[in-house]
Symmetry: C2
Subunit: 254 residues, 2 copies
């Protein structure tokens, strides 16, 4: 959010991208004034650039006059190369088919987990993850599963920051978290109980290529059924291993 | 593909967007020279703008030196508002769960169908549709299901163009196609047999809101199993009706 009118050296491209970047999960619909406020650009600049973005269908003006990201961006985003999603989806499908539970796939992006795929049915418990959404690592099963396999310096850095506490059950004490991660590593999977959302618990396993955690597969069930989690661990780990195998093969093929 | 150096009036924003638009399903990875050729922009301009796009992670340079669309665009694309995909996914999941067949959801975009979701497993027959991909309307089940409910002028226009013929079985004779569309409308679903891909046949039903076809649900099976298609029609139509109902409710809620 550097200045716009106050930053004449900023290029037009960076201004255009800043406008697109003003939209996020918490701000999916914005007025021109809101875009100007979020980017620090002059309203006249926003007006002109949004007009060009709209013409290209990168943004779309809704019935309420607010702008939203357009379907053309969605379509373009489908070109982002991701052999991981490609190979993982049928495995997630199998896991959902075999268990009837919500399953999702996440990768680490910075210090967060980014959910890249999700398979869910009509009967399963609603889960907070949404494709394209992000959550902190330490309160989520997939986050713990990924964090446990990151290098020591990364984990130390992570634990030294102030950690969010979405529920009273979230473990945020660094020493306890470090011990938990060691246990995840020893057993090959993570379990959480109402650490992200009250009423939900989860199991997750890392997708390991070599010793690098390229993703994690998670399964979320209602806390009322926490006792069923252990029986889900074996199918979960089998699917994580299957994804790792297919992913390695896909990457090797080029 | 209007001129670049030859078109000094073209704005920086439109040039930046032209670079993003140079990527498509048939050209997912491009060198700077290829981008210049596809956009008509000067190589020096492409070099500078791609640098800015790369910095923002809108594009990503692969190990082979070619550029690809970056994950940030994928993430941004997830913000494109689509209550349709949201309400349809669990229904597609049910249809897949109940039949074990590949199912997909498509909308009309221009004179093509755009595939917006797909549910597939490890055992099902591979299908040509890919999320984010487009196909012509007349050879595909979902395309016929949509076309049948478009207004008369649209259909007349569509049929008056030269029509692609991906296989020898593709119906392209306007009179015969028009009769087929009338039949689709009368029975409420479309069937195709090897019209898009040899070895595959499909059934599809429109998702009708009022009398507007907002999407179509399709199911694809191997031609060897063409006789099983009729038994898939009832579950298919039930799911299309369910999606229409939930979609209407979602749109009404706002």
């Amino acid at each position: 959010m550097s200045g716009g009118a106050r930053d004449p050296g900023r290029t037009v491209t960076s201004r255009t991208l800043a406008i697109l970047g003003a939209f996020d999960l918490h701000h999916p619909r914005l007025t021109l004034t809101e875009i100007a406020a979020r980017t620090g650009l002059a309203l006249s600049t926003v007006h002109r650039l949004v007009g060009e973005l709209e013409e290209w269908r990168a943004v779309h003006r809704g019935a309420d006059g607010r702008y939203q990201i357009g379907r053309r961006v969605w379509e373009l985003g489908q070109l982002a190369p991701d052999p991981l999603q490609e190979v993982a989806h049928p495995w997630l499908q199998e896991l959902f088919g075999g268990t009837g539970e919500n399953v999702h796939l996440a990768v680490r992006d910075g210090v967060e987990v980014l959910f890249v795929d999700k398979v869910y049915g009509k009967r399963a418990v609603p889960i907070v993850s949404r494709t394209g959404s992000r959550l902190p690592m330490h309160p989520t099963g997939v986050g713990k599963a990924l964090l446990a396999y990151e290098p020591g310096w990364f984990v130390t850095d992570y634990l030294s920051r102030p950690l969010e506490r979405p529920t009273p059950h979230t473990v945020i004490e660094p020493g306890r978290l470090a011990r938990e991660l060691a246990q995840v590593r020893a057993q090959g999977y993570a379990l959480t109980h109402e650490e992200m959302t009250l009423g939900s618990c989860s199991a997750a396993a890392p997708v390991l290529v070599g010793d690098r955690p390229v993703a994690a597969v998670g399964i979320v069930v209602s806390s009322r059924r926490v006792r069923e989690l252990p029986r889900l661990v074996d199918p979960l780990r089998a699917v994580a291993a299957g994804i790792a195998r297919d992913y390695r093969a896909a990457v090797t093929r080029g």
